[in-house]
């Protein structure tokens, strides 16, 4: 009984964190799904969703209901087990990284010493889901999409890690809370602008979004790796994509934009989340904005850009950082 009382607070904490994580994942998908369509609409000089509710705000709810009601079609020659498993794999791991993100100085699930590693490790599982989904569909376009996704994501993880590593060298910790704490008074974007730019480019490729949306390039591969997915299994991929966008933007906020720091508000230990969310959604707006502006790159150009520009620059940046840290 005593053991129970000693672990009870931890249990409650886990349950609360899980619920909050789910709320953030679904809430984020609703907000981003709506915002993306609305912003895309206005960029194209049209209003976007307008029919369901005032200015179409219930559109995503209705879409969700529709997707739930749709039949899950499994192609005849697909691998039935893996085909069904892939969307779950894309969606399930996105909850865990949310546990270690410090939304404000007191709103954080667990402050792990290896916080960043947890996030990066789990975010990469999404890639496995894409590969399994594309492979098991037994569709030629899906297979191409899956191959592209794998090589693209593996390549772009390197500059992403290198750019984050230069921050790690400055702070000497993987704990996200400590990184945020190290950013007073100056945000790291001021000290490390190049690393921020490299990180920004990498996350576009990591989240498979235009102009690096090669895995789903619809004018070439119809819909890429999720060609054969319908209904809820398709929307799990989309949920996973938006959650991943949220996570990588959160990491950018924590590492470069000072996390929850900002003009103090009442109860700042908790209300810092407002600043945090503002920064995250500004980054996400940027991702949406570039998606609806640029054409798609070609595959070899994407790789060339990574190997010829991003990685050398990231390495040089890292080297300079290390030297400066040693000297100062």
């Amino acid at each position: 009984m005593e053991i129970f009382y000693s672990i009870l607070p931890e249990l409650i904490r886990i349950v609360v964190c899980a619920v909050c994580g789910a709320v953030i994942v679904f809430g984020n998908a609703l907000v981003m799904g709506y915002a993306e369509r609305k912003l895309a609409g206005h960029i194209m000089l049209r209003p976007g969703p307008m029919e369901v509710g005032p200015h179409g705000i219930y559109q995503l709810v209705v879409d969700g209901l529709k997707l739930m009601g749709k039949q899950l079609v499994v192609p005849a020659k697909a691998d039935p087990l893996l085909f069904r498993f892939a969307p779950l794999l894309a969606f399930a791991p996105v909850f865990v990284p949310l546990l270690v993100i410090p939304f404000s100085s007191k709103l954080q699930g667990f402050d792990l010493d290896i916080g960043l590693l947890v996030i990066l490790a789990l975010a990469s599982i999404n890639l496995l889901a894409v590969l399994i989904g594309g492979w098991s569909s037994n569709n030629k376009y899906s297979l191409f999409g899956a191959f592209r996704a794998v090589s693209q994501n593996v390549a772009y993880e390197i500059p992403m890690l290198l750019s984050l590593l230069s921050i790690i060298f400055m702070t000497n910790t993987f704990s996200l809370k400590a990184v945020v704490a190290a950013q007073s008074p100056v945000w790291f974007i001021v000290i490390q602008p190049l690393a921020f730019l490299i990180y920004l480019v990498s996350i576009v490729a990591e989240t498979n979004r235009a102009p690096f949306d090669l895995p789903e390039a619809e004018s070439e591969l119809t819909a890429g790796f999720h060609t054969e997915y319908s209904g809820m299994s398709f929307s799990l991929f989309v949920l996973g994509e938006y959650a991943n966008m949220f996570i990588v933007s959160s990491v950018a906020t924590v590492f470069f934009l000072g996390g929850s720091s900002g003009i103090p508000l009442p109860y700042f230990e908790y209300s810092g989340i407002i600043w945090f969310m503002l920064k995250v959604y500004t980054l996400m707006f940027f991702l949406v904005w570039i998606r609806w502006t640029y054409p798609r790159t070609r595959f070899d150009q994407l790789m060339n850009f990574c190997w010829k520009y991003l990685i050398p620059f990231a390495l040089v940046n890292l080297l300079i950082t290390v030297v400066m840290v040693k000297l100062l």
Partner: protein, 146 residues
């Protein structure tokens, strides 16, 4: 080496120019119409399917059943027939049907008509569930029109 950096900077600048265009568009007024809610005014010159003209004086159509339109039609979509009636000069129109599913809106029938009995309607919202809905009885339509 020089081209390596110059390419990077000109490329980045071109991307910024693109972003400038779209952000400007984001805050510009929209140019589309929410179609079923607000409708555009269609030009009176719009050529919909043909219709028999109602003569303002007599209140009847002006067709003399000569059949020129039927012969001129490249798609054979007009059928008309008439009969001899007491007190009417020439033939009186008994049936005038248009199979709009075959019509290609060339306007040959309107141009060939010697009495200008045909004109284009201004209807553009045409949708139906069966083909038969587009077999128009123009004689009935002209009689029902006020």
């Amino acid at each position: 080496m020089k081209s390596y950096f110059s390419e990077l900077f000109t490329g980045a600048w071109s991307l910024i120019l693109g972003l400038k265009v779209t952000i400007k568009a984001l805050f510009s007024p929209i140019v589309t119409y929410q179609y079923p809610r607000e409708k555009l005014v269609v030009t009176p010159n719009y050529r919909g399917h043909i219709d028999l003209v109602k003569d303002a004086e007599t209140g009847a159509h002006k067709c003399i059943t000569c059949g020129s339109c039927m012969r001129e039609c490249p798609s054979d979509c007009i059928f008309l027939d008439g009969e001899k009636r007491e007190g009417v000069k020439g033939k009186a129109l008994t049936i005038f049907t248009l199979n709009f599913t075959k019509c290609s809106l060339c306007g040959a029938c309107v141009e060939v008509c010697p009495t200008d009995a045909l004109d284009y309607s201004n209807e553009y919202e045409l949708a139906g569930f069966t083909r038969e809905e587009f077999h128009y009885d123009l004689l009935k339509r002209v009689e029902e029109r006020e």
